[in-house]
Structure formats: structure tokens, C-alpha cells
Amino acid sequence: MKDKKIVLITEDEKVLRETLHSGLEGENITVVEARNGQEGLDLSLSLHPDIILLDLIMPKMDGLTMLEKIRNHDAWGQKVPVILLTNLTSSDEQRNNDMARLTPTYYFEKTEMGIEQIIEKIKEILKVQ
């Protein structure tokens, strides 16, 4: 039996985090939750998740700072797929440049994207059913 994939949800909004968690739970996925960027970074570096869902605006450390630290950390960090989830509008040029630089990264606006589409995308990236 193959190893379970680890999904790290880094999101400060409890209900969103728990809803995503419930939607993802299955026999082939282990879901880990982080409530802010600092927790997300610590868990990332210790667990090396297979994918990271990342909110942008969070207390303690924002999503892009966390992502930058992961990308610069090691070989795993350079490659791990990251899905940015946000309620910000995409008009901030600096942020868009940062996101383009910190690939491989996917960007979803929470009110645009349904939870099912996000779950499908995660499964597609992880190649699990």
C-alpha cells in the first residue's frame, strides 16, 4: 500500500480551514492544519507536505512571506506545489509579480472558486483518487 499524501492547509479562518479539511479527508490523504504563516512554515519544514494550501492575509506571518521562506529553504521547498487562496482582488502588481516568481504556484480567489473545484485541483496535482 502506497504512502498517504500530506496536504497542509494554512488558513486563519477556522470555518474555511475545517470545511476544506472535511472535503479532503480520505484514505489516501492526511490533512494537517496551520492557523497562521508561522505555524504553516514550521509544519512545512518538519512534515514536507505534498501540497500546501495557502491563505495570503494571516496573522504572525503572511502567506507570501511563508512561501518565500519555503522556496528558499531546500530542494523540497523549491518544488512543492502551492495553491494560494485569497479574498484579495488580483490588482496588486507587486503581489502578482511575487506570485509569478514563487512558482509552481496556483492562484484561486475564494469567492470565485468552488470548494469542489479546489478539491479536484488538489487531487489532480497529487494524482490521487
Binding site: 479562518e13 470555518v15 474555511l16 472535511s22 492575509i57 479574498n87 475564494k110 469567492t111 468552488g114 470548494i115
Partner: protein
Amino acid sequence: MFSNEINESKIMLDTIINGVDDGVFVVDKDFKITLFNKKAVDISGFSSDEVLNHLYYEVLNFVFEEDEKNTNDFIKKTFMEGIVEETSQNTILFKKDKIKINISYGATPVKDESGSITGCIVAFRDITKEREIDKEKTEFISIASHNLKTPLSIIKWISEFLLDKKIQKSDVEKEEYINNIYITNKGMIRLVDNLLNIFHIETGNGFTIKKINVNIIELIDKSVEDNIQFAKSKNINLVKSESINGEFIINIDEGKIKQVFNNLIDNAINYSPDGSTVNIDLIKKEKEIDFVVSDSGIGILKEQQGRVYEKFFRGDNAIEKETSGTGLGLYISKKIIEGHSGSIRFESESGVGTKFYVSLPIN
């Protein structure tokens, strides 16, 4: 007679030039400053003596905001091309004391009868304050839209989750999700109300204090009643002091003061541990009354106590505990109390509790 008329015209022109609300200076064809009005002195910090008969670009330093490259050439351009030049990009003027200010300007060529350009009139204005207001507005809209989208995403995701037949859910889970939608929706209604309040406060539109004689005891009772359900859900004991009894008439805006009381009681419950007590007291003094709400909740971190009345501010410990809140209640409450010539203050210790005092003048 003729020279008198010229004199009168000159006096009138001087009065106009020194009376206008824009900085105005005139540059002759040798690029020397020949006129520098009072407002130009106020804005730039240079006295007339320091600029008159000096080459304008040796005294005044206009630069682009983005790269601080010199933009003094706009005056020369007006001379060369004979057209009116207006601020095309964000421009900065270095004042005499080297402080940078945002300005907008317009440079107009002066032509003689034959059409030759003999000088240039420059009018400029300090727009630092306008720029700050613009920036604040943009930030406000950006935070407000983010804060509105968060509950919208929650409701969207949970509804989709509940509707998805492929995902198994027990009745208990379903109830929990519906409860989350309910709470989120309630929070959103409060957020929209608060945002409208702020809009009224900041535009001065609709934020008027309409005072009437009110029995404050009855008002406190109503406020407590409004919060009983919330207190019950957290098994919190709302205790009124014995002084909240009978009748005590005071001249206030009933709706707005109730909003403040509700806010303070709601906060006290929200940030208190389940099963604890929230005390509500009324202290009647000679010239004012104190409405006091005290809790044994998470408190406000000492280093953040100065920021409590800031718009959208939420304490780190409140965020950490994942409590709900918009960061707007205390900002609005303070404005309402100030509108009554009263005051709001608090004592708080992190992990011990918070005591808020609202003082309202009796007359």
C-alpha cells in the same frame, strides 16, 4: 489720473495674487523669479527675498515622486512650446527645510502683444493631505472588500459542501455546518452595519446625534436583553448591579448609545471563557454617569492597548483565540461617545480581564 489707475490696478492685482489659495510665482524669460506670492512662501518655506531675482531652478526643486528625478524642466517646456503644462505625474517639491510635499501644478506662458513668450506663471498647490485621504480611502475599500469576501467565501464553501451528495455527512455535522452559516451571516450583517456607520462618520453624512430624554436604566435592560442569547450560548452569567434599577433620565441619542452598550457587552461575552461572569454597573455622579462593563476574559495585550480604537484593529490574542470580530465596534463606539461630549476608557490585563467605562454627561 492715468498713473492713479495703474496704481489701483496694481494694488488689486497684488491683492488677488496674495489672496489666492494656490502658491503662485512668475518667471521671466531669463528664468528668474519676479513674483512669489504669500501662499508660495507658506508652501515652500522660502521667503520672497530668498527667491526673487534668483534662477527658479536654483531655488525650487521639483522632482518626480517615483524616482525623484528632476522635473524642473516643465517651466522651460512652457517657454519653448508656449503651451500650458500641468502635473502629468506625481510631483514632489522639496521645501526649504528639505521636507518633501506632494504638489500639483500648472504652468502658463505669458505672451506679449506680438505673441512672443515673455514669462511663465506657475500655480502650485500642496496636495499632501489629499493624497493621504486618497490612500486611506483605498486602504479602507481594500480591507472592507476583503472582510466582506471572507464571510461570503465561508457561506459559499459550506453550502457547496452541504449540497455535494458525494460527501457523506452525519446529521450532527450538517447541523454544525448550518450553524456556521448562521453565525457567519450574523457576523456579516454586523460588519455591513459597521461599515455603513463608518461611511456616515467619515463623510459626516447621516451621522448626527439626535438627543432625546431617555431612561438609561431601561436602555441598559434592553441592551442586556439583546445579549442574553449570546451569553447563554457560552453559559456566561450577565450580572447587573443593584444601581441599575428604577428610573434615571438622561439626554442622549437612544439608538446610538444602545449600540455602544451592545458593543461593549457583546465584546465582554465574546472574549470571556465559557461559564464566567460579565458584570454591568451604572455609577451615578453629580454631573455624569459611568456605564461599566467588566469581564474576566482574555484582556488586551499591554503593547496593543494604544491601538484599541483604531479602525479594523484586532488584538493578536483575540485573533489567536479565533474569536469573531470586525475590529470596528470600539472605533465606532468612541466616535458616538465623543459625539455626546462623553469619554470612553478601559483597564485591562492580558489573561485577567477588561473593564470598560463610558462616561456620559447628564446635561
